[in-house]
Subunit: 188 residues, 2 copies
DNA sequence: CCATCGATGTCAGTGACTGTCATCAAGCTA
DNA sequence: TAGCTTGATGACAGTCACTGACATCGATGG
C-alpha cells in the first residue's frame, strides 16, 4: 500500500462536484474541497490549474475522440459530414453518462465564470476539429467555418438534449439540428 | 468645476489599455491602473466588475446596434440575411476604429482569461440576435442556429480582417465568409 | 543500506475583489 | 443662508484564489 490513498485527482473531482451542487460554486472554497478529499489546498492546485478546471477534465478525452473520428472518416466525405459524424459519435458517448452530464451542466449554467470556461473549451474543440480537417486537405477558411458551425450545432443540440426527456436521443438531436442549420444557411 | 476630474471611467479604460499593452495583462495590477488614472483601486471596482471587464465596455453598444439592425430589416428578409446585414453594419462601425480594434485584439489574444471573457460576450451577442429573430417570428431552433452561425462567421471574419492589410474591407470579408459557410453547409 | 524520486504537506506571500464607513462638493429645500 | 440629502470617491480591513520555496517520507532501484 502506498503512503496515500489512491486517485487523489478523482477524489478532488468528486468532492468538487458534490460541494458545487450542495452549496454552489462561489460558496465553496478550495480548502473545503481539499478537506473533503482528504488533501490540502496546495495539492488541489497541483492537480488543477484553478477552481474551475476541476469540472473540465473530460474535455481532453472528448477532443481526442472527435479528432480521431474526423481523421477516420472516408476520404470522399465532405467536411461538414466528417464533422457531423464525429459529433454524433461523441454524442453517443455522452449519452451513456446522461445523469452526470446533466448535473455538471446544471452547475456550469448557474455561474458565468464556469460558462466562460466551457466556451473556451468548446473553442479549443473547434480549433482541433479545424486542424483535423486541414490534415484531410480542407483549405481555409472552409475548415474553420465547418468546425465552428459544427460546434454551434453541438452546443444547441446539447442544450436541447439536456433539457429534454430521458428518452431523447442525443445523436438524433445532432442530426436534426444540423439539418436545421443547413436550411437556415440556405436562406430558408 | 466638480470635486473630481470628469470621466473617471474613461480614464480607467485608457490607463488599462496602456498598461496592458506596455507590460501585459498579468503583470499589471489594478492598483497601478487606478493610480495612473488618478483614482484608487476601490473606485476601479465601482466602475468595472473585474480586471478584465475594463476592456469590454464597447460590447453593450455593439449589441444594441446589432439588435436594432435585425429589428429594422425588411419583413421578407430571411433570418440568415437579417443577421448578415446586421453584422455587416457592425463591421462598418468597427472599421472606423481599426487601430483601436487591433490593439485591443492583440491584448486579448495574448491571455486566455481575456479570450474567455470575449467568448462569453460573443455568446451573449448571439443570444441577443436570436431573441431579435424570435421577435420577428422566427421559430426555434432556427433562431438560435442562425444567430450562432452568424457569430461564428463574424469571429472568423474578424480574425481575417484584423490580421490582413489596412485596405481590407471588413463588411466585404463578412460577406465572403458567409458565402463560404453556405458552401460548406451545403456539403461542398 | 543508501540515494533518489515523487506525491504530498507546511507556510508565507501577492493580488483580486468586497463590505463598511468616512468625506466632501453640489444641489435642493425651508 | 442654513441645513439636509445625494453621489462619487477614499480609507481600511478582510477573504480567498493562487504561487513559490522548502520539508517530509514511503517506495524504488542499485
Amino acid at each position: 500500500m502506498g503512503r496515500w490513498e489512491p486517485n487523489a485527482r478523482g477524489r478532488l473531482e468528486q468532492a468538487a462536484m458534490e460541494l458545487y451542487t450542495e452549496r454552489g460554486f462561489e460558496q465553496t472554497t478550495v480548502a473545503e474541497i481539499a478537506k473533503r478529499a482528504g488533501l490540502t489546498e496546495r495539492t488541489f492546485f497541483r492537480h488543477f490549474a484553478d477552481k474551475r478546471e476541476v469540472l473540465f477534465s473530460g474535455s481532453r478525452t472528448l477532443q481526442q475522440h472527435l479528432e480521431d473520428a474526423v481523421a477516420g472518416a472516408p476520404d470522399a466525405t465532405a467536411p461538414i459530414d466528417a464533422i457531423a459524424g464525429a459529433l454524433e459519435a461523441a454524442a453517443a458517448l455522452l449519452q451513456e453518462r446522461r445523469d452526470r452530464a446533466r448535473q455538471r451542466q446544471a452547475i456550469i449554467a448557474a455561474h458565468a465564470e464556469l460558462r466562460e470556461r466551457e466556451l473556451i473549451k468548446l473553442a479549443r474543440l473547434a480549433a482541433a476539429l479545424a486542424d483535423a480537417l486541414r490534415r484531410r486537405g480542407v483549405t481555409d477558411p472552409a475548415a474553420d467555418l465547418a468546425a465552428e458551425a459544427g460546434i454551434a450545432v453541438f452546443r444547441i443540440a446539447f442544450e436541447r438534449w439536456v433539457s429534454a426527456s430521458a428518452q431523447s436521443d442525443f445523436p438524433q438531436v445532432i442530426r436534426e439540428s444540423l439539418e436545421e442549420l443547413k436550411a437556415v444557411t440556405a436562406g430558408r
